[in-house]
Amino acid sequence: MRVQALVPFGPWSWCLFLATLHCCGASSKLNRSTDSSAQHELNVRFAAASSQPAETISVFTLDYDYVQIPYEVTLWILLASLAKIGFHLHRRLPGLMPESCLLILVGALVGAVIFGTDHKSPPVMDSSIYFLYLLPPIVLESGYFMPTRPFFENLGSILWWAGLGALLNAFGIGLSLYLICQVPAFGLGDINLLQNLLFGSLISAVDPVAVLAVFEEARVNEQLYMMIFGEALLNDGISVVLYNILIAFTKMHKFEDIEPVDILAGCARFIIVGCGGVFFGVIFGFISAFITRFTQNISAIEPLIVFMFSYLSYLVAETLYLSGILAITACAVTMKKYVEENVSQTSYTTIKYFMKMLSSVSETLIFIFMGVSTIGKNHEWNWAFICLTLVFCQIWRAISVFALFYVSNRFRTFPFSIKDQCVIFYSGVRGAGSFSLAFLLPLSLFPRKKLFVTATLVVIYFTVFIQGITIGPLVRYLDVRKTNKKESINEELHTRLMDHLKAGVEDVCGQWSHYQVRDKFKKFDHKYLRKILIRKNLPKSSLVSLYKKLEMKQAIEMVESGVLSSTAFSIPHQAQRTQETKRLSPEDVESMRDILTRNMYQVRQRTLSYNKYNLQPQTSEKQAKEILIRRRNTFRESMKKGHSLPWGKPAGTKNIRYLSFPYSNPLPAGRDVKMAEFTDHDGSDSELPPITFNTHSPAESIQERRWTAEVIPMKSLHRAGTPPRFGYQRSASREERLGRGRRAILRPKPLFHAVDEEFESEEEAPAFGSLLSSELRPGGDCNLSHSPLLQRK
């Protein structure tokens, strides 16, 4: 299996190797040649060319220096991408080890190649490039994909844990190492306290998100996910702030002792830097959200605006010596909510993918650098320092986890169990951040920089490989599941039913908001922020409109392929079958169980599925579509059985089944006021927003326009009760809807699938043909109402 998976990976990367070697060999003086003989030729040719005087125009030249940097960078990125493809082709590998492992290996490979050919790697990574170009995309991506609601619900715990944890770790490790350095036997006497503290701060920058993919299948609860995310998010920022402060200290106090005043100043600076960064980030977030309000006509620049403003927030914060990382994080978190609603669907997808791409590129490059540094001559090995660093990292992380959570558990409604804390402790995997900070230490201030780099590399390798690979089994072990016993079909069916039931009731309960603050923020948000930042005339959820379009397509496809007719429309025949109980062989039972397991619908996942390196395809969407369409069809079926369409009914009849217009609803004048209150009142995630199908006017499809047009007449119908007013009302409403500025939220809350039902039944009448046309005309008076509808097509 493994060989098979490596095969697609093999030949391609070998080709790439050869290509890289070609270039490496051609550019610098070649000391050792590698396998291919073609390289020799090239060499000879090149040597010949360079020995000639430069007056003649040579027919074939090679100008490698010109393209060296972008060329090699591109090759590295491609190599890493190919490795990732190979990695994911293998079925089980992604579940065994985190993807960082793979990237590190690729980096080491490239490093080996470069070292082996004695090639000077292009100086892509220096301080300014790292901090200005490589770091922001990574941070932006993690800030953008942070799920905001759980984040804010757990904000206190997260701040407490991430902030204090980072500080505790940094100072703990630093101090312990300093004590070790005092021991003369280790030969580390020249590393003073500041340097140790600095080392502690950079080694405590964890990247736990990298391991999330590994234990995704184990049902880790939402809170745990949130803590890990939150830590990853804030950790980078805090480490960098600390790092910068300590570097500033080191520069200042190269020769003097540190005074208490300076320490106080340092603390104050820490707070100012942190909060200032967040402040700027929030401001930029709002500005960019505001601007996206007006971009409906040039939706192509929407991603640009998002990225540029985030980047700008980073740069502005950096200019003022505030924390750019926290700024860009705050910007992403703030603007995400509003931008998502404002931008078009394609822009939204573009933004997501582009972010992933950028951060992936950055991270790849950093890991390649790490690989290059690993395999080189720039190491200084000191057993005591390195081993004790490892030990102290683990010890201090354990201390910080258990101590801090012990305290915060007192204040939490749902305390974290010891199992959760173990998972958090073990997920302290270091990543690219630590390496970069170590690499960028100024050599002048840190004469023993090589030692630090070596120690950092060892810690990273150890945590990523050993911890990364074993965390999966550990989590599975802690999350004891009864998988050994084969369940009977009964149990399986009933368990699944109960899971669905539980998920459904959970949805009914909604999310608890523990804090009054959150409610107050929501109110404030509704009253002011959304009015300013969100476009007018929007469907409240672009996801809902996406659903609509997808359902339409799916429905038509399903009908065409005849699937619908076989399952949903089949009339359940009464149990006229013989009651004899067939003797079923074990294989039959087995196969039945298999069918059941494979085909039952999955329960809605509450826990967030976040993968750092990948945007998950929406597999649950397919299931959701299927369910929705089937429900609609059963609905329609039950309609067919004996309930007539409402048009024929006199006004005032409550027709809750089919169209659920709230009859007690006040007249349009009062409607807008009420709109503001009950849209999105509690938990935009879980509630169905009122469906307004005045989508983005340019993209508005005929169907949707017609559909919303249809919605109004129903109400007027019920008020007036006569079909002839139908057409009039509709055109009038269309006019007023198309008019500018009018909040065209027509229906407070049409039933999600009932209105859809109408739309579909009308739209699909030609598609379905005879099958459904009968049901669309149950009564004579309906013909009247249908013809204007159909004519509009």
Partner: protein
């Protein structure tokens, strides 16, 4: 805290509800807020439509049945006590509470039996106390994707009923249902953590 108690006072019959369901004051308050939030038009009760507004329920295969279970006896209005009564079935079981219970009082709503009874009524639509083969087939159809053919579904339904049916009447009574699930940890499966 002051505002909290005034809210609590607004819940009608709060004490009797507490006794019946066993929810804490805080939980009841949160549920009341949720009830009010779901009741968008401020009617004071919930209709089916209000529950159907919950988007996640629309994509739950059993969404309709779950909503129906909130409206026992075909009523059209769901008031707060009814709402809480249904949710009380999902309250996590508290062991010590079980031990201190007065045996003369009726079983608490979140006992194992009551949880099972609640699940049972999702199957048994006609409320005759038995899950017929037909009802089992309907549930299966709801829960399984479209790729499974009708014959396969029928044979699975047959097998399910056959496995559980002990007295051979071709239907699964409530007792047979409980017996088939005796090894399952119902208390954990049908408990929602936040409803403590």
């Amino acid at each position: 805290m002051g505002s909290r108690s005034s809210h609590a006072a607004r819940i009608p019959d709060v004490d009797s509800i507490r006794r019946e369901t066993g929810f804490s004051q805080a939980s009841l308050l949160r549920l009341y807020h949720r009830f009010r939030a779901l009741d968008r038009t401020g009617k004071g009760y919930l209709s089916r439509m209000d529950l159907q507004q919950i988007e996640a329920l629309a994509v739950n295969p059993l969404g309709d049945r779950i909503i129906d279970s909130f409206f026992p006896d075909g009523s059209l209005r769901l008031d707060f006590p009814g709402f809480v009564r249904v949710l009380a079935h999902f309250r996590p079981v508290d062991e010590e509470e079980d031990g201190n219970r007065d045996p003369k009082e009726p079983e608490p709503l979140n006992s194992r039996m009551n949880k099972l009874r609640f699940a049972f009524q999702l199957y048994d639509l006609d409320r005759d106390g038995k899950i017929s083969r037909h009802e089992m087939l309907q549930v299966l159809r709801l829960m399984v994707g479209v790729q499974v053919t009708e014959e396969q579904l029928e044979s699975i339904a047959d097998r399910t009923v056959q496995e559980a049916d002990e007295d051979g009447d071709g239907a699964v009574s409530f007792l047979e249902f409980t017996k088939s699930l005796e090894k399952m940890n119902i208390e954990q499966k049908m408990s929602i953590r936040i409803l403590k």
